[in-house]
Symmetry: C3
Subunit: 357 residues, 3 copies
């Protein structure tokens, strides 16, 4: 349970969320909690049918529910019916999180940071202890650079960004507005590029002199790495959501609103379409195009272009209906071999193979 900044009645919560209160709308709610642990003074959200039994037994004072669950039996004293309980619950969580974030943002510029005199900081910028901001960097209004960050030469950071502790943005990279980078993110490491002498096998580095351009509203998870382009830009379009430990190689373009789940890797020069979803540990080879809205399931390996809205599964990835059918047949291989043996027996062939099968 986490306390709300101030107590609210169920009616006030309904009004805040644009929902309809059902039951005791004068009950006072002081905190938010998970369905399974909420008490009479908490509001919780029911949005995942997997946990319907928990919802039924919930002791929450108030439960956010979708229209479809309006009349479901439920131990909660009151319900608030909303279009999207998860989104509404996020609004309540934001009340709590916002208080902390605005406190953190009031820190101003730490005297323990190292800021080059030729860097430009906008109004209301915070810079934490031991952060380094190099010559020519420009930081937009209202942006928070937490402790121990590194912002390289000529980097441009937009407004209202949040760089958590220990983020690195190397020279000349650009972030839009309201970008969030989690601890350990590296923006603008060199792309993995070299030429190899065919005779000696010796590798020679190809200098990587491009940059990374991160669009507005992008969030990038802890220890993810986005490499700078050889020349030109690696681009993360606005609104893309990137999880922890993801690798985006040089000259890649990630489409607006695309979702890259943890440990995904995208190789060089590939274009990922708008709204595409790459699930956990998926890998995309280089120089490919993944269509808008395509879904690459977890651990899938993609070695060819993918049409828009296609759903791929497997390594190598195939369209999911085909892939699921093949997986089912794969599981039936022992049966198929038995049938083959039966046929051979009937025909009087294949004696030698029987032993091996």
């Amino acid at each position: 349970m986490k306390k709300l900044p101030s107590p609210k009645t169920v009616a006030e919560i309904a009004a805040l969320l644009g929902g309809a209160a059902v039951g005791d709308d004068k009950a006072v709610i002081t905190g938010v909690a998970e369905v399974s642990s909420a008490t009479a003074s908490d509001v919780a959200s029911f949005h995942n049918m997997k946990y319907v039994e928990q919802a039924k037994a919930s002791l929450a004072g108030c439960l956010l529910v979708p229209e479809a669950a309006k009349d479901a039996p439920c131990a909660a004293k009151a319900k608030v019916v909303v279009a999207d309980p998860q989104a509404s619950f996020a609004v309540l969580l934001g009340l709590i999180d916002g208080a902390r974030r605005s406190a953190a943002a009031k820190g101003g510029v730490s005297p323990k940071a190292s800021i080059h005199p030729d860097a430009k900081l906008g109004a209301g910028v915070s810079v934490g202890d031991f952060s380094v901001i190099e010559r020519g960097a420009v930081i937009g209004d209202g942006t928070t650079i937490s402790a121990q960050c590194y912002v390289g030469e000529d980097v441009k950071v937009g407004k209202n960004c949040l760089l958590h502790p220990r983020v690195v943005v190397r020279h000349e990279c650009e972030l839009g507005d309201a970008v969030t980078l989690h601890p350990g993110v590296v923006i603008g490491g060199d792309g993995f590029g070299f030429t190899t002498d065919r005779k000696t096998g010796r590798h020679t580095k190809i200098p990587q002199i491009g940059n990374v351009v991160v669009g507005s509203g992008v969030e990038i998870g802890a220890n993810a790495t986005i490499d700078r382009a050889t020349l030109g830009s690696t681009v993360i379009e606005p609104g893309a959501q990137i999880d922890n430990l993801v690798q985006v190689a040089h000259n890649v373009r990630i489409g607006a609103g695309a979702v890259l789940v943890s440990q995904v890797g995208v190789a060089g020069s590939t274009v990922v379409g708008r709204g595409a979803v790459l699930a956990g540990q998926a890998g995309i080879a280089g120089h490919l195009t993944i269509g808008d809205g395509a879904v690459i399931t977890a651990q899938t390996g993609v070695m060819a272009d993918v049409p828009a809205k296609a759903v791929l599964f497997g390594s190598p990835g195939r369209p999911h209906r085909e892939a699921f059918k093949l997986q089912a047949l794969y599981g039936r291989l022992p049966e198929l071999v038995e049938r083959l043996k039966e046929i051979e027996k009937k025909l009087g062939i294949g004696d030698k193979k029987d032993a091996a099968a």
Copy 2:
């Protein structure tokens, strides 16, 4: 070879390890070494049968061996027979490592660290250069915070923990006693949570206001990331061992003594049982339960609950006996097709398909 803090006879080593000396127990040992490179003044350990030939040829002055290898021919001048040579060898390595660690821990609190006046440091706490400890953080007795770490607001760190350089523990997270975090670990990054507007495809962040609770005796490898819960706690139970670059998502629970090998990913709200082993690069989908003592082999993808003590293999994962049989049959597909063609020939059918097969 690494020198022991002080020379020891074989008899002294046997006494220290509770083992039985065989051969020249007055020989003086000054260092520890690997079986393959040990010399007459070194003690080495033989515990991996893969390297039995190396053991036979070892020039070590003293070899730790299990009871089963007591009488094996061996060039070493002396043996010490112990129950678990690897564990006994670890004791000797600890003599060397302990000397360095206790020296490092004597550093005290660096004047170059930034420690909020409202943080509380226990007795014997060390804090390295350029580390930041925020308001309300509490650090237990005997804990070492190395250089360049970030310990957020209201974080609780237990006793005798070791945070290597450049660890981040974000606000409100909690570490038990004797927790070891390697460089680059991020505890408490935001969980990957957002809602998506079905019409516009626009994502809205779900604030992640829970925390991470790490149990006593847990060790977490370099650049691993453990996300904070949306609400409530992501929990790593006592004694779990987590390797480098592992991802643990929000609201996950990792059972006591579980082992997560490098590059494993565990998606949101999944529960991993006590003593379970997730081998390298395995991926576990969200909202699942992995039973106690289950083994998920390397690169396996888990998309459904796993019973206790089950062993899974493959992507998607199947019980390993079934999976191994299927892999074997898969490898025999060319033969099975040949058999099919032979039958078709005998029956006078399938002419057209022969070309394609």
Copy 3:
């Protein structure tokens, strides 16, 4: 487009690269650009046949081409024919990158760094803000330690190395000359070693007292982790190229010139041969030998030794010709089942199975 440090004629570029100018060799080139976006004042490179249409339509003032494309129709005003356009283009990129790097290297030793009096810095060494260099560390001539790095006790760093911001090299590890480490790299984290009590399931750490030895010319990508050996050394031989988020476990040896693409994992004590290529997300089990020049394709899992020059594909990995054939047959499983059913029909057997198939 990025500007060259100074304008050059096509003839000058040809001379610099040892190539032959074709067309207007007096044209003045002021920048480098990608084929698709180059203008009349830019030089671009054509080396990937995938982009041949872009090359034909390129408005570049000068295009670097291989001998084979000497006479290809092309909108560029001039061509320079070279043996390896990509390598030659790298030379031009290096003119631009070199200017920035030499400026960065002139920073000297920051007064905001923390350098132990018993550390030794060679001539021309730079150390950035908030870096820590511990007792006994030795830094070779001309090496740049960027901001926020940690160099542990008794570490040896060679000449002309470049440690990007926020690199950690733990105690006693050694780097050769001209080693490049990208942000977030951790050299010398503890190997993942412990013994487990069979009765209690309790794990006991095996102290990791070896080190990591990185050869000359090695480059390691952002947030990659190279663990120290239990005893002895984890070795990265000269010239190996390691991409972002790669995991190299304790006591591994990576051969000279080997290439490890992003998110590869190599488990303990494995030996990877010279010039071997491990493609993205491949995983290699422990205690194996991967032969010289072997190629492990993306996402492949290796569970047995691999001969020199073998090419493996799949999880578990198989020789690629076999693996590709098996994948093709796998895709034809529905057809094979149909053929089986046809035979059964003809023979009047298998009625019950028809429904299931």
